[in-house]
């Protein structure tokens, strides 16, 4: 029987009998399957080319993956990232709250901090801190505009590690300030008002009511920032920061196995960012309290779903 929808009259489809058990079939996405097949073939070709390429030197990759010098670099990268993230988060919190303060001076200072450290390249900042001695040969603590105080040669104080922490941390701080500010702004003003009406002080409202709720908004971009920092920390190789990339470069400068060593570094960066991704999931779940069922899907289920992408085309969510 032909459907004549356009005419809209006559030709009415008879209503089904209650005895008929009508089955529904979801739309099949055949072009998707074809596209997936093409991608798989290309991928397989790439993998086989890489696996059989003699210049890849897989034995070298395996050898250096766990060599002490590389592991030392991995450790430094982790330490550097964690320290910079702590510094950056602290600065971000302080400058975000300053930015939202009633005090115009604090607001202005915060604005300029973000403007400067977000507006200049991290690499430039890193090199600047590393070469601070060119500007100030000696640094120390003293009374401004007098000679009273104690000091030391700058180069003995600002080590490559300290320069790295300052350069990256101050930069992350600027981004975190904006992330935290966005989180605070996302919370309904009624929350602060209700808390104020109960007699809570500004500090207490921020700590007990606003920030815990803002965390849900702050965390995803913060995880992003952390992962970005893990990789951005490779820039300290420029100032011999001793991180994973510095060590990698040191090794291939000696044995010229550039590609295998870059693969080693990439594998480690992937491992670190993967761990960070898992960590982020658990922290987000903690701060999702009270946020009914959206978080209900477990990490395991999420992973299984991502590992079996063809499942999605079956149309079950």
């Amino acid at each position: 029987m032909t459907l004549n929808v356009a005419s809209g009259q006559g030709d009415a489809v008879a209503a089904p009998q209650e005895s008929e058990n009508l089955r529904t079939v979801p739309l099949r996405h055949y072009p998707q399957h074809v596209a997936a097949l093409i991608v798989l073939v290309v991928l397989a070709w790439l993998v086989s080319e890489l696996a059989t390429n003699p210049n890849m030197q897989w034995s070298q990759v395996v050898h250096f993956l766990t060599s002490p010098i590389i592991l030392q670099g991995v450790l430094t990268t982790i330490q550097l990232t964690v320290m910079c993230m702590i510094l950056g988060t602290f600065l971000g919190l302080v400058f975000a709250v300053m930015r939202m303060s009633d005090n115009r001076f604090l607001r202005t200072v915060s604005w300029y901090y973000v403007w400067f450290f977000r507006g200049t390249p991290v690499l430039v900042q890193l090199i600047f801190w590393y070469n601070l001695s060119l500007l100030f040969p000696r640094i120390g603590i003293g009374i401004p505009f007098t000679d009273i105080g104690v000091g030391a040669p700058t180069n003995s104080v600002v080590s490559p590690l300290l320069a790295s922490i300052l350069g990256l941390g101050l930069n992350v701080g600027a981004y975190m300030a904006e992330i935290v500010r966005g989180g605070i702004l996302a919370i309904d003003r009624g929350q602060s008002e209700a808390a104020a009406a109960l007699g809570m002080t500004r500090k207490r409202i921020m700590r007990r009511i606003v920030l815990p709720q803002a965390m849900r908004v702050i965390l995803p971009p913060t995880g992003n920032q952390f992962i970005d920092l893990l990789k951005a920390s490779s820039m300290v190789a420029f100032i011999a920061g001793g991180d994973l990339l510095t060590r990698t470069q040191q090794v291939y400068a000696m044995n010229f196995q550039v590609v295998p060593l870059l693969v080693v570094a990439s594998i480690w960066y992937l491992v670190l960012t993967s761990i960070a991704t898992f960590g982020q999931y658990f922290i987000e779940r903690h701060y999702g309290r009270g946020e009914a069922t959206r978080q209900a899907r477990t990490l395991g289920a999420q992973l299984r779903r991502n590992l079996k992408p063809w499942r999605i085309s079956k149309g079950n969510r």
Binding site: G190, A194, L198, G199, R208, Q213, R289, G290, E291
Partner: protein
């Protein structure tokens, strides 16, 4: 300008100092004056309902009573002390934030859209201020919070997050949260306006029982039936001023002013 006249039969003797006294208050938002020289008195134990069209300044007035909005002129007194200000001669100087916070702790407020803290359970919502602000012990505050939850009919929902409660239940938790601070006066800002019609009753029932227990309350509401039944006095506000005030029966049954009659004709 109308001032409070007679009709304080409920607290005829004993407490002669009003719970709240609003004296010639003016308030503007930018160029728009929303409260235009308004005076009101609320006696201890009294239930005052404020009715009036939207934009008449009722909510702003209520928010001035706990200094959520700053007044531009005049004064508001809570149990004899200036709200938000310190008087030096003829001038009122705004108090420090911590002093204002301490004053707000004596005034409970229930909002149109509840504003429960969504990351805390019902019980945690109620004990937050007693423990954090009043420095009560957690055990003591919890015991009292449970009693309050029982009183608003939610004894079995103490572990529920606001997102798991209906609007009516959330508003009852919000009332319990305000009561936990043992406020001298309880302010209600259109407490049933955001509720589905079938949930309004449960909230009004709780408010009615509070009124019967002698809680001082200022209620901005559109529930004329509730005002008629529970209020000691009703104030009709329009355009930032008190148009008419008196016993609930007088204002609602036989209003003197034309504007009151027009308004009641529309809402009833």
């Amino acid at each position: 300008m109308t001032t409070s006249t007679s009709s304080r039969e409920r607290v005829a003797e004993g407490a002669d100092r009003p719970a709240v006294e609003i004296v010639n208050v003016r308030k503007s938002f930018g160029d728009v004056e929303v409260i235009k020289g308004l005076s009101l008195r609320v006696a201890r134990g009294e239930v005052l309902c404020i009715i009036g069209p939207s934009g008449s300044g009722k909510s702003s007035l209520l928010r001035c009573v706990n200094h959520l909005e700053k007044i531009d002129f005049g004064a508001i007194l809570l149990d004899g002390s200036y709200v938000g200000y310190r008087r030096v001669g003829e001038t009122l100087h705004e108090m420090r934030l911590s002093a204002i916070a301490a004053q707000r702790a004596q005034v409970g407020m229930v909002f149109q859209r509840f504003h429960l803290f969504p990351h805390m359970t019902a019980l945690e919502n109620i004990i937050e201020a007693p423990v954090g602000v009043r420095k009560e012990s957690k055990a003591e505050a919890t015991a009292r919070a449970r009693a309050l939850l029982d009183r608003v009919g939610l004894a079995d929902r103490e572990g529920a997050y606001p997102g798991q409660l209906s609007g009516g239940q959330q508003q009852r938790v919000a009332i319990a949260r305000a009561l936990a601070m043992q406020p001298k006066v309880l302010l209600f800002d259109e407490p049933t306006s955001a509720l589905d019609p079938e949930l309004v009753g449960e909230v009004l029932t709780v408010m009615r029982s509070l009124a019967e227990e002698g809680q001082t309350m200022i209620v901005v509401t559109h529930e004329i039936g509730f005002a008629r039944e529970v209020a000691d006095r009703v104030v009709f506000m329009d355009d930032g001023q008190v148009v008419e005030e008196g016993l609930a029966s007088e204002v609602l049954e036989s209003p003197r002013e034309q504007r009151t009659r027009e308004f009641l004709g529309k809402v009833l």
